[in-house]
Structure formats: C-alpha cells, structure tokens
Symmetry: C2
Subunit: 368 residues, 2 copies
C-alpha cells in the first residue's frame, strides 16, 4: 500500500511538471507539434514537403538554383511592423540564417500589424519572434540581439556581428535590412545611404511623446515587407530586376521607382572603398539590366550627403500615373507624388524643439 | 490511508484532464493568454490598447470615423496564400465580421506562404484560421464554411450567406473578396467580372495533376493581400483613391492600373440591375475621383463578357515604367508588361487535354 501511494505521489509530480512545461510551451508559442528539420531541400510534389512550391521556381525556370538560399545570412534591424513580416517571409523561404536586432517589447498596441500575437505581450520582440519563426521553419538558424544598436557599445557589437555573423562564423552576413522607425537608427545602419525623406535637425524625441503615436496599418507594412523580401530574393537568387528604390503611396496605389547613385566624394573612406569594390562586382549583378543610361534627371543634387537620386519617370508620367493629388487634411503629406518639389526642401528642414504636437510638426514640414 | 489513495487518484485524473486541455489548446493555437474583448474602440495611446495605432488615423485626419469598421461584414472566398493574410489584416484592423469559405486542409506544402503554421497541418483551413484569428482579435465575429462553393448545393448556401450573413443576420455582407486559385471558383463568385487573364476552354483539372504544382512565394501573396485590404479599407472607410484594377509584376516591380467598366448588355439581369443601383450610389463613392474622363483607350473590347478594360497608362508610359522585359525562360509569361497584345489572345485560348505538363501549357499560352 505504501508503495502504491509512493507511485501515485510520483505520478502527480510528473504530471504537474509536464503540465507546467505544456503551459510554458503554449505561452511561448513553441510549436512542438510542428515539423522536424530537413537536411536537403526536395522538389518532390507531396503535401508533406514544405519546400515543393519554392523548388517549383526551378522547374518553371525562374530561379536556376533555389537551394542556394540556404547558404545566405541576412541581418534584420528592427523587428516591428515591417521587420517581423520580413523575417517571417525569409524564414518560410528557407533562408540559411537570420540575425535579428531590436530592443523593444511586444505590446498589445502592436496588434494592428501582422505577426505578433496578444499572448506575447510583454516578451522581448526578438525572443517572441525567434520562438514563432523556429516553429514555422526549424531549418533556419537564428541569432537574436535584444539591444539598441545606436548606443556606442552596442553599435560596436552590431558591427562585429554584421562582419562575422554569417552562415559560417567569421564570415560577414550577405545583406543588412533596415526595418527601423527612426532616422538615428537608419543613419547608424548606413552612414552613406540616407532615407529619401530626411528630417535633419529635428529632435526625434519630440516626435515620440507621451500620449501621441503615429498611425499605421497592417496593409502598408505587409506591402513594404513583401516588396523588400521580393527584391532580397531577386538579388540573392539572381532573377528578375532588382529595384534600387521603390516607393509606395497607399492613398493612390502609386509605386515610383528611383535609381540611387553613391557619392564618389563621400567623407567615409570605407564607403569610397566599397564603392570601388562594388564597381568591380557590378557587371555580375542582375540589377544592371535596368540601370538607366546617360542623360539622367538628377534630383536632390544638393543634399548634404551628395547622394544623387535619379528619377526613372518623367514629371508628365508621374502626373499621369498618380492621378490628382487627393484632398488631404492638414498635417498629412503624400511622400511620393511630386518628388521634384523635394529638391528645394531637403537639408533645409529646421524645426525647433518647442513642444509642438506631431501634427504641428508635420504641418510645418509640409509648408516648407 | 485508503482515503488518501482515493484523493491521489482523483488528483492524477484531474491533472491528466488539465494536461489534455492544455495540449489541445496549444495545438489549436487557442490564445488563452491573449486579451479579453473590448466593447468600445478607444484612441488612448497606451501600450495595452490594441486600437491606438488605428484610431490615430482619425487624429491625423486620414479617416473621419475609424470605429465604423466594426459595422462591416466581409466575406473571403479562398483562405490560402492571399485569403489567409487578407483575413489576418482585416482581423487586426478590427472588422465587424468575417465569413470564410474554403474546403481545403492545411498541408506542410503550404508553409511557403504566411499565416498557417506546421502544427496546423491536417486541420481544415477555415477552422485553423478561425482559431488563430480569434486569438489575435476576439472582438471580430467569425463564420466559417468548410465546403467548395462551386458545387450546386454549396453555391446556393454560399449565395444565401452572402445575402444574409451580414453583421446583423438577414442583412447582406458589405464586400465579397475573391482569393481563389482557379477560374471556376472565380466565375462562380462573379459571373460578370472575369479575371483579366482568361483561360477559356482549358480544363483546369489538367493543370492540377499528381506531381505538378505551381510555384509561389510568400512575398507576392503578401503584397497582393496588402494591396487588396488597403483598397478594402479605403472603400469602406472612404479615404484615398480606390483602385479598380491593380496588377503586380514581381519580376520588374511594375504595378499597372486599369479602369474596369461593366457591360450594360450583360446577360445576367441581376448584374444589369446592380449596375443601375451602382450608378445611383456612385457619386457618393471616393472612387469617382480618378475615374478617367472620355477618350479612354479601350482594351479587350471583343472578349466574350463584353467587359471593357481601360488602360490608365499609354503604351509609351508602360514601356518607360516597366523597363526592358527580362529574359524569361520558356513557359513563363509576364502578365502585366504589354497588355495591348492580349487584345487578340483573350477568348481564343484552346488547349486540348492531351496530358501536357504545366510548363507545356504555359509555353503554348505564351505563343498564342
């Protein structure tokens, strides 16, 4: 009798432990019941093959060597509305390795975008993302860093991981994708390729204030992530035409393209060095197909970085394709309708930190 | 002693039941730890408010009455690569009610697209989707139907739900979104608005054969779903310009727009009736802003449905915006580069059921 009580007590303990494990698995989103790892991508068309639809790109002749995707490592900086979907798409495509950088926590306020779920509120974005992504595709290697890349100490570590965190340790990553929501981080990621709409001299901290937030939709962020990853795939797997710069005006469904040229007199000598190296590599890139020839219309020539943005569509075409500018409320600008106008405004934006609201700031910027 | 054994046995049973419940919750993706229902959308900017970023569209003046989204019911036919993401976006936006129609099961072979996860393999797509969507946003009402709408019996039920399954039972749904992968279902959804690329007289069963599948990527489907839902939001919440027809050429990042006109001589009298009703309602629609005026270039005038497709870009503009046609392998066509050419090919496509491969069929269609 004593023995059977002993056994029962042991069983209760086992069950309690198993229950605790189950609960933590469910909360962490650990897809224990998912699939096991696959050593070699197969093109067999069976329901159980997660790669059949991707490998069919070979059979259809679009991509010559789809399996090569497993040899690439991509770093994603910012795992928010765009970065998380970007990570999920690359994970489902079977990328070799993903490095994720973010210092934020998941909040219920993020549920207006794809990917994160309410039960993950409070978890760090990179950890929550890693759990979900692993259960989606256990073949991908993940390396996550829960810190802000713009601090000196973390920037050094970030640079080190970009240079050494490739598929094989010691090798650089193949691409760095900027999916951040502020200019400071954007500049930290690339001191030589500034964003098209530049808010120089604005203290961004005035934009992120208590009780104020910018509106966002799962649609715009899904479209941007989709276009980004489509171009990543075209670039890595060498098919189609890679866009240098592609905008999305969601109000009018207008998608302007730009060709971006580096500044040969860039202050950063590393940048100049990389420009030289790129020139040597360039002929092998599929992107060359659409590089515009001569007589390019140069926009933004006078910006402080000396970057030239070459519009691929004429003013007339822009007008025709975009239709009339919609009547927008004060404070809202359409980023991609009349790029010519920005020629004067870039590098002249000066808004004082006067405690204005986000709307006031945007209205001011619009008037300039 | 006997009593304590009794108690222990009872405890073991309780624990076993709880463990089974936990397991099924985790497997079903039931976000038990998610959030509770919210009675009224708030615009308060706090981390715990899942609607703050959406309600900010009001504060920024883009949408005048965002809460109105809760009054709409949308039916989604096909819950695959495009439909599932479409459903997730509308769920996160806080739509009033979603009706999902699909008869397929989740397979590991679907993991190349967003939304479904490996642990859901074997579940019906509509049930798996409902579980996930409920845990993302418990405020949305869901009605799911696990059947094929193209059979006579189910088509009747489908039509009945479209007419009566609105937010209030007995009212029609506000929009029907076609996210299906075959022409039969597309024609069943709308006998008067055929897809732009029409494969008349092809027995589609020859396309879906053992050992053959069409390639697909999470990127293209994410972009298409994003553009679709963006236009749904613009249409329902009356902002921006709604696109009648928007294409996506992923190889070249080219997004042509078309204006679609109904056929006033349509054989379907319901269609003609709805055309009349639409004409009366039309002035109130935001879509009118960009309806092209007179002298429209009419494409596809001779197709069997009498539908007119009016290109909003000239041949010259198309050429300039799309750049050179990439060198594509045999069997692959770019759907949106030279629409003029399709004028001759529509309604003349005749491919015999000769057991050809998908590639052969596509190559043949290309040559026509």
């Amino acid at each position: 009798m004593a023995e059977s009580v002993e056994r029962l007590l042991q069983r209760v303990e086992e069950l309690e432990q198993e229950l605790a494990r189950e609960r933590s698995r469910r909360i962490a989103g650990d897809g224990h019941c998912g699939r096991t790892r696959i050593q070699k991508m197969s093109d067999e068309v069976v329901d159980s093959n997660p790669y059949s639809r991707l490998m069919a790109l070979k059979r259809m002749g679009v991509v010559s060597d789809y399996e090569k995707i497993r040899t690439y490592a991509v770093a994603i900086v910012g795992v928010g509305g765009v970065g998380s979907v970007t990570a999920e798409m690359l994970t489902r495509c079977g990328i070799g390795k993903l490095l994720l950088f973010d210092y934020d926590k998941v909040e219920l306020a993020n549920m207006n975008r794809l990917f994160f779920q309410p039960y993950q509120a409070g978890m760090s974005k990179v950890q929550a993302a890693e759990h979900t992504l692993r259960s989606i595709n256990p073949d991908v290697l993940f390396e996550v860093h829960n810190y802000n890349i713009t601090t000196v100490e973390h920037f050094e570590h970030f640079m080190n991981r970009i240079s050494n965190g490739g598929l094989e340790e010691g090798q650089p990553v193949d691409l760095v994708l900027s999916c951040v929501d502020n200019f400071e981080a954007r500049m930290a990621i690339n001191t030589c390729a500034p964003p098209l709409v530049v808010a120089s001299n604005i203290d961004e901290k005035t934009l992120k204030r208590e009780g104020v937030c910018a509106a966002s939709l799962p649609t715009t962020m899904g479209v941007v992530a989709g276009i980004l990853v489509q171009n990543v795939l075209k670039f890595l797997l060498k098919f189609g035409t890679v866009s240098f710069y592609l905008g999305y005006n969601a109000m009018q469904d207008f998608f302007p393209t730009m060709f971006m040229k580096p500044n040969p007199q860039c202050d950063d000598k590393n940048c100049r060095k990389q420009q030289e190296e790129y020139k040597k590599r360039a002929p092998a890139q599929p992107t060359q197909e659409t590089a515009p020839q001569e007589e390019e219309e140069v926009v933004h020539e006078d910006n402080e970085w000396g970057i030239e943005l070459v519009s691929e569509v004429s003013e007339e075409e822009l007008k025709n394709s975009s239709g009339p500018v919609p009547t927008l409320p004060e404070g809202i600008t359409v980023a991609y309708t009349v790029p010519k106008k920005r020629e004067d405004s870039v590098s002249e934006v000066t808004v004082e930190d006067s405690g204005e609201s986000l709307e006031d700031l945007m209205a001011r910027m619009k008037k300039m």
